[in-house]
């Protein structure tokens, strides 16, 4: 069979690949990555480093949630649960099997991925056939259940007090040598590399033919089915993928924070955080997670400093004092406003504005 | 005599899909106007646009001279337009009587009198009055659906594919019922069953790809084999 030239799709993709190197967005992204990589050299404060890595971890987590909710269109409240699985798996493997080694670390990650994969497939197979609202509620119920299980099963999980794993080898002791990196910094760069890798993986996934099929399913499930795609299989694959990514990130979180307990890794607060990040950053944009994570986590670290201010300003009235303390209240209001007026989030609105400027011809379907 | 219903250049979108791309039609009073066309031509969408379930993106819909596009469905219904949708829309968990009562715009003596008349017109419904509507046969459900529309004083009746899925003998009964009704009210009928359409219809419009492509009298269309072949594939 002779091919006279490239098909329209192949031609379009080749053009895309060429243009990619000229796009300013690419350089923006490279700059961000560079900033994160050079941070330890520039900023000595541990608080800043901690914030930066948490932003990286949660940005990737938010992106993985975006794959499920934004690209595949499935509302699930179980995502934090998979994050927790990863955190606990690593913490247990490294903490409970004797002196920590690299092998244990790897085992922890693999075990976490295995458990998450199985649970994701079971929950998915069971629930994806049901109406969307049901699925959302069922995942919520399962997540609550996982939390309670973690608290009750103290023998394994350390109950409410949690686990405090110690890391093996280089991650604890550091890597002396040319750069003289402390254990902390080794962990920092390893996790940063993992986040970057996962992000790229997700980006490829979303832009692959598989990813595009998922978007088609999200936009019009009936039509996709009519076209012959087994929507159920695709949706299952996407949710499992997102869950596994979340698991890996959970393990990374355990490595960095070195303290794992039910509230901080499995609970509704994490789920809400991730949801907020995706919404504020922009659903369906993948990179919106970075914006969302940066905003939310920075606010959370900086705002407590303002609390003291409120205390001294409104020393007379208790209600006013409380009003200035409860920053979550303002976040809730902000959240509602964002959903109302900027449902596409920061990145989504920007992208839409850019597309409108380029003109109707540039807008695809 | 003024037209009961008038559509002019109506466009309707469902999501990103531009379904209606210019529908224009006029419905004469006290006549049966039939809307014909292949599957997916946009007939049901047209009905739903008239009822206000879907807002038109362009164009005008007028009922007895006044524009009704943009009004919510319940306001349009209260102007005196009855709607029997495709698939009947029967409330399966309610009884036959409850179905009729819900359909009443107001439950008063006049509506109850009309309900009595509907039950007289469709003896099957009288028999199954206290039964759950979900247990009725296909034909009975269709009777109930039409009966519901008649419980109110109706100046315009929109009926969407009443014969769908019904056995021929039931369709016969249905045609009889509709013939009895057509003398009292103006009817717009969407129907794929051409035989039935030609027996009941006075005027007709043919739709294709979201547009009205032919209008004329029913008898003229029935006689023209080329037209029928081109637009309806019969």
């Amino acid at each position: 069979m002779s091919a006279p030239g490239l098909t329209p799709v192949q031609a379009a993709r080749a053009a895309e690949r060429r243009d990619r190197w000229r796009s300013p967005i690419l350089y923006l992204r490279l700059a961000v990555v560079l900033a994160w990589a050079l941070l330890p050299a520039v900023g000595p404060s541990f608080q800043l480093l901690d914030l930066a890595l948490k932003i990286a971890l949660f940005a990737t987590l938010a992106a993985s949630y975006d794959v499920v909710i934004g690209y595949t269109g499935i509302v699930s409240f179980g995502h934090a649960m998979f994050f927790g699985f990863g955190a606990y798996a690593v913490a247990l493997a490294v903490g409970r099997l004797g002196a920590p080694t690299y092998g244990h670390l790897v085992l922890g990650f693999l075990a976490g991925i295995a458990v998450s994969g199985v649970v994701a497939i079971v929950v998915g197979a069971f629930s994806l056939r049901i109406k969307a609202i049901f699925f959302a509620m069922i995942t919520l119920a399962f997540a609550e259940f996982a939390l309670i299980l973690a608290v009750q099963w103290g023998a394994l999980t350390g109950g409410e007090d949690g686990l405090s794993p110690k890391l093996p080898g280089v991650f604890a002791a550091g890597a002396p040598g040319a750069f003289g990196l402390s254990g902390r910094l080794v962990t920092y760069y390893t996790l940063l590399a993992i986040c970057l890798g996962l992000f790229l993986l997700m980006s490829r996934f979303v832009h692959s033919p598989l990813g595009r099929t998922l978007q088609a399913i999200r936009d019009n499930e009936l039509r996709a089915e009519a076209l012959g795609y087994r929507t159920f299989a695709f949706q299952l694959m996407a949710t499992s993928f997102g869950s596994v990514v979340a698991t890996v990130l959970g393990g990374g979180y355990a490595m960095w924070v070195r303290y794992v307990n039910p509230e901080s890794t499995l609970g509704i607060p994490i789920m809400l955080d991730v949801l907020l990040m995706v919404i504020i950053g922009g659903i369906g944009t993948l990179h919106g997670g970075v914006v969302g994570a940066a905003i939310l986590l920075s606010a959370r670290t900086l705002l407590p400093n303002l609390r003291g201010l409120g205390g001294s300003l409104f020393a007379g009235s208790e209600i006013l004092q409380r009003l200035s303390e409860r920053w979550l209240l303002y976040f809730g209001i902000l959240f509602v406003l964002v959903v109302f007026f900027f449902p596409r989030g920061v990145l989504g609105t920007l992208r839409e504005a850019a597309a409108r400027r380029r003109g109707p011809a540039a807008r695809g379907t | 005599m003024a037209d009961v219903l008038e559509l002019e250049g109506v466009h309707t979108d469902i999501g990103q899909h531009h379904i209606l791309q210019g529908v224009s039609l006029r419905v004469r009073p006290d006549a049966v106007t039939v809307l014909l066309g292949r599957n997916g031509a946009g007939k049901t969408t047209t009905m739903r646009t008239v009822m206000g379930v879907l807002p038109p993106s362009r164009g005008v819909v007028r009922f007895e001279g006044r524009p009704i596009h943009g009004l919510p469905p319940h306001a349009i219904a209260r102007l005196g337009i009855g709607y029997v949708p495709e698939g009947q829309g029967i409330f399966a968990t309610l009884t036959v009587e409850e179905n009729l009562r819900v359909a009443m715009r107001a439950e008063n003596a006049e509506s109850r009198e009309r309900m009595r008349r509907v039950l007289a017109l469709f003896p099957d419904l009288e028999r199954f009055r206290p039964a759950r509507a979900g247990t009725l046969s296909g034909g009975q459900k269709q009777m109930l659906a039409i009966g519901r529309a008649l419980v109110n004083p109706t100046r315009l009746l929109l009926i969407d594919e009443p014969s769908k899925g019904l056995a021929p003998i039931v369709v016969e009964h249905l045609v009889g019922a509709l013939e009895a009704m057509k003398r009292e009210t103006t009817v717009v009928l969407v129907e794929q069953n051409f035989a039935m359409a030609s027996r009941l219809g006075d005027d007709c419009y043919v739709m294709d790809d979201g547009r009205t492509v032919y209008s004329g009298s029913m008898s003229a269309l029935a006689a023209d084999r080329d037209l029928k072949q081109r637009y309806l594939g019969v």
Partner: protein, 325 residues
């Protein structure tokens, strides 16, 4: 009526099996406690299921209304008790008066909040499930934080009228008073709702709307008024549930709504969307199972509710009384 037989058999099994492992007197106490807990959950679930069934709205703010009802009732109860001492008083009339006024406050406040929520927050995102979830979640956060601002973040002790505390001694069996009252109240509410739904025109239209709200509109009924009404009524019920729960556990805290909401969701799933009877059956099931299991194997109690939900979904994916939507 066909569904009644397997259900009665199942109910009999559920009630009688535990007798094998629990001695009769403890069983009776547990059963009363279980039914009471079930009734309180029913109050929350009933509104939730109708809101789902009629409006197709996932209302996460329901828990916040539960909390607000509790706090509103609490404020009234504390104020009345401080002024006239009706809670501590031995007079049944004073006690009943306090309870009624607290109930009225709880229902009224929750109802009003419900109206505001429906019109301002829910109506604009009608039809878009994801945004409904998000916006009601946001509203919950705001409402819960406002409680913390107005009343402080700590637990508060709820004054319970003297006559309703303690227990009755019926033939050597200890029957706790407040749970018994909760059960009576629950039955009253259920009876009232059934009457409203089956014997009034409004109820008829709501039942039709739960099945197909587009059809109801096309028949000339302004469905949005019914939406607001059902949402507000459901909110009022949640508020009532919150107050009763506050008295049941004798303390209230800002997060109480969120904690109970998950139970309510599970019950709605078990019972089926849109069915009040389903919520009742599901709630009683959950309440009883929880109490029996908590007595026998404390740690497994929470797992049991999940287990029941999973079991029901495997057998009937739309819930026990689901309309198959």
């Amino acid at each position: 009526m066909k569904r009644a037989t397997p259900l009665l058999v199942g109910a009999a099994l559920l009630l009688l099996l535990p007798l094998l492992g629990i001695e009769p007197r403890a069983w009776l106490t547990l059963t009363v406690a279980g039914l009471a807990m079930g009734m309180l959950i029913f109050l929350v679930a009933a509104g939730l299921t109708l809101i789902f069934g009629l409006m197709d709205v996932l209302n996460f703010a329901h828990g916040a209304l539960f909390s607000w009802g509790a706090y509103a009732g609490f404020t009234v109860a504390v104020a009345i008790n401080a002024r006239w001492g009706w809670a501590a008083s031995p007079s049944v009339w004073a006690n009943a008066g306090l309870l009624l006024l607290a109930v009225a406050a709880a229902v009224a406040v929750a109802f009003a909040l419900g109206v505001v929520l429906e019109r301002v927050i829910v109506r604009p995102v009608y039809g878009q499930h994801l945004f409904q979830i998000l916006i009601t979640l946001g509203a919950t956060i705001v409402l819960e934080e406002l409680i913390r601002v107005a009343w402080g973040p700590n637990d508060q002790v709820m004054p319970v009228p003297a006559t309703f505390q303690g227990s009755w001694d019926v033939a050597d069996v200890v029957v706790l008073r407040f749970p018994a009252i909760a059960i009576a109240l629950g039955l009253l509410v259920y009876g009232g709702m059934q009457w409203l739904l089956t014997r009034t025109r409004v109820g008829l239209i709501v039942r039709a709307g739960v099945e197909n709200n587009e059809m109801v509109q096309v028949m000339g009924h302004d469905i949005h008024r019914y939406f607001t009404g059902v949402f507000a009524a459901g909110s009022g019920l949640a508020g009532l549930g919150g107050l009763m729960w506050g008295m049941f556990s004798q303390s209230i805290r800002p997060s109480m709504g969120g904690e109970q909401l998950i139970f309510a969701f599970i019950v709605v799933i078990i019972g089926g969307l849109g069915s009040v009877t389903g919520s009742l059956v599901g709630a009683l099931l959950v309440g009883l199972a929880y109490n029996y299991v908590a007595y026998l194997v404390p740690k497994a109690a929470i797992g049991v509710t999940m287990g029941i939900m999973v079991l029901v979904l495997l057998v009937r994916p739309t819930g026990l009384y689901g309309a198959g939507k």
